[in-house]
C-alpha cells in the first residue's frame, strides 16, 4: 500500500509541476468569469436572458463537461501514458520497486483525482460568482442538486478517460492519440445526433446524465442502467489497457 500511495503522490506531483495544469485552471476560471459577465450584459442590456443562482453552475457544467474539461482530461491522460513512453521517462518509474499493476492503478487514480479537482474548481468558481451576481434564493435541496450534478459527472468523464488511456497505450505518438481521441468524440457526437434513440447506450452521450438526477421524477431504472453501462465500459477498458501496459517492452 505504501508503494501505491507514493506512486500516486508522484503522478499527482508530475501533473502539478506541468505548466499546462495551471494554464487550464486559469483558462477555466477566466471562461467562467466571461460567461458570468456575458450573462449580466445580456440581462441588463437586452433584457434577454435570465439565469438564476442555481442554474448558472449547471450551465457552466454543461458547457465545460463536453469542452475544456474533456480537453484537459485528454491532455493529462496523454502526458501520463504515451507522453512518458515517447520521452522514455517511463523508464524512471518502471525500474523502481513497483509492480506494473500498482503503477497503472496510480496513473489511472491520479487522472480521476484531477478530473475531480477540476470539477471542484468549476463548482466553487461558478457557485461563488452566481451568489455574487445572480438573483434568486437557494434552498438546501437545490444546493445538494448542484453537488450531485457535479459529482455524477465524474463517471462519464472517467469512462471517456478510459478510452483515452487505451488509445495512449495502443498508439505510440501523443499527437495521434490526441487527434484520434477528438475524432472518436466527434464521431460519437454525430452518432448521437443521427441515432438519438440509441444515445442512452453511447458512453460519449452520457456527459449530461446529471440531468437524470436533477429531474423532478427521478427515473431510477434509467439511472441504474446508464450507471452500469458506464461502469462496465470503464472496467473493460481498464483491463484491456492494463493488459497492453503489462505486456509492453520499454
Amino acid at each position: 500500500m505504501r508503494i501505491f500511495k507514493m506512486a500516486l503522490l508522484n503522478e499527482i506531483d508530475k501533473v502539478l509541476k506541468k505548466k499546462k495544469t495551471l494554464v487550464v485552471i486559469i483558462i477555466s476560471m477566466i471562461t467562467i468569469v466571461i460567461g458570468q459577465l456575458s450573462i449580466i450584459g445580456l440581462q441588463k442590456g437586452l433584457n434577454f436572458a435570465t439565469v438564476s443562482l442555481s442554474s448558472f453552475p449547471i450551465l457552466i457544467l454543461s458547457f465545460f463537461a463536453s469542452t475544456i474539461l474533456l480537453l484537459f482530461t485528454i491532455l493529462i491522460t496523454i502526458d501520463l501514458f504515451s507522453g512518458e513512453f515517447n520521452s522514455n521517462t517511463i523508464k524512471i518509474t518502471i525500474t523502481r520497486p513497483i509492480s506494473r499493476f500498482k503503477l497503472f492503478l496510480a496513473k489511472t487514480t491520479s487522472i480521476l483525482i484531477f478530473i475531480s479537482f477540476n470539477l471542484l474548481v468549476l463548482f466553487v468558481t461558478s457557485f461563488v460568482l452566481s451568489i455574487i451576481f445572480n438573483n434568486g434564493s437557494l434552498s438546501i435541496g437545490k444546493f445538494l442538486d448542484l453537488v450531485v450534478a457535479y459529482l455524477v459527472t465524474l463517471l462519464p468523464i472517467m469512462a471517456i478517460a478510459m478510452v483515452i488511456i487505451l488509445l495512449a497505450n495502443l498508439i505510440k505518438s501523443s499527437t495521434m492519440v490526441f487527434f484520434i481521441s477528438l475524432i472518436i468524440i466527434l464521431l460519437f457526437k454525430g452518432l448521437e445526433i443521427l441515432f438519438p434513440a440509441y444515445s442512452s447506450l453511447l458512453v460519449f452521450s452520457m456527459l449530461d446524465w446529471y440531468n437524470l438526477w436533477l429531474s423532478d421524477n427521478i427515473q431510477i431504472f434509467k439511472i441504474i442502467r446508464e450507471f452500469l453501462i458506464m461502469l462496465s465500459f470503464s472496467i473493460m477498458l481498464f483491463i484491456a489497457s492494463f493488459y497492453i501496459f503489462e505486456k509492453r517492452d520499454f
Binding site: N10, K17, T89, T95, D249
Partner: protein, 247 residues
C-alpha cells in the same frame, strides 16, 4: 560466495531474430562486473529484462534470491540502475527528480538527496530545471538516481556515454569509492574494452546474444597481455566453433 544475481537460461528473440540466447550468469557480492560486447550484442536487452523494462521469452532472473517475474518489488528494492540512456523529467529540478525517485524507497531523507547531489557534483545546480542541463550533467544526475537508495546492486548500461575524459576518470573513482564504502556490487555494460579493464574486476564477454566466457580480470591478465587480446582470442574461438558447426 553470496550470489546477488542469478540468470538462468535467459532467452529473448526479436522479430529480426537478434536477441539473447540461453544466457546463464551469476554475479557475486562485491563484484564490479563488466558486461563487454560490441553494439547490438545483447547487453541492453539483458539489462532491460533484469530491471523489468522488458519481458523475457523464457528463463529466469533472480536478484537477491527473488525472481523478477514473481516478486519484482522485492527483487528491485536494493537495485539502482541506468539503462540505455539517462532519463530525467526535464520540467523538474535536479532535486525534485531525486525526490521523485526516493519516494519508492524507505528512509531516504533530504540529507541523503543533498549528499548524493554533492557526491556527483550537482549540488549547486539542485534548484535548476533539468531541461537546461548539459549531457554530462544529465549523466551525473542519472548516476545520482541510480545510487540514491544506497543500492546493493547497481546496474549501469554504458554509463560513460556522454562523459568527457575528466568525467570518465571521476566516474571510475566514484565506482571504486562506492564499491568499497557501501559494498555495492556493480553490473556495468560497455563496448569499451579499456574502460572495463580499468573499472571492473570481473568480465563477461557477450557476442551475438551469447555469453562466451566469464572470468576475473586478474586471471585474464596473468595469461594475456591485455583484456583486448583476451577479447579478440575469445571472439576468434567463438567464430571457429561456429564455423565448425556450419561445416
Amino acid at each position: 560466495m553470496n550470489k546477488i544475481l542469478e540468470i538462468e537460461n535467459l532467452n529473448k528473440v526479436y522479430k529480426n531474430e537478434r536477441g539473447i540466447f540461453d544466457l546463464n550468469l551469476d554475479i557475486d557480492k562485491g563484484d564490479i562486473f563488466g558486461f563487454l560486447g560490441p553494439n547490438g550484442a545483447g547487453k541492453t536487452t539483458t539489462m532491460k529484462i533484469m530491471t523489468g523494462l522488458m519481458k523475457q521469452d523464457s528463463g529466469n532472473v533472480k536478484i537477491f534470491g527473488y525472481n523478477i517475474r514473481e516478486d519484482f518489488e522485492r527483487a528491485l528494492e536494493n537495485v539502482g540502475c541506468i539503462i540505455e540512456t539517462v532519463e530525467a523529467f526535464s520540467y523538474m529540478t535536479a532535486y525534485d527528480n531525486l525526490k521523485y525517485v526516493s519516494r519508492y524507497y524507505n528512509n531516504i531523507d533530504k540529507n541523503r538527496i543533498d549528499d548524493v547531489l554533492e557526491l556527483v557534483g550537482l549540488h549547486k545546480y539542485k534548484k535548476e530545471k533539468v531541461k537546461g542541463f548539459s549531457l554530462g550533467m544529465k549523466q551525473r544526475l542519472g548516476i545520482a538516481t541510480a545510487i540514491i537508495n544506497k543500492p546493493k546492486l547497481a546496474i549501469l548500461d554504458e554509463p560513460l556515454n556522454g562523459l568527457d575524459v575528466e568525467g570518465m576518470l571521476e566516474f571510475r573513482k566514484l565506482i571504486k569509492n562506492i564499491s568499497e564504502k557501501e559494498n555495492t556490487t556493480f553490473f556495468i555494460s560497455s563496448h569499451l574494452i579499456h574502460d572495463v579493464e580499468l573499472t571492473c574486476n570481473r568480465v563477461g564477454i557477450i557476442i551475438g546474444g551469447k555469453l562466451l566466457n566469464v572470468d576475473y580480470i586478474d586471471n585474464i591478465l596473468m595469461s594475456y597481455e591485455s583484456l583486448e587480446k583476451y577479447f579478440v582470442r575469445e571472439v576468434e574461438k567463438n567464430e571457429n566453433i561456429q564455423n565448425g558447426i556450419i561445416k
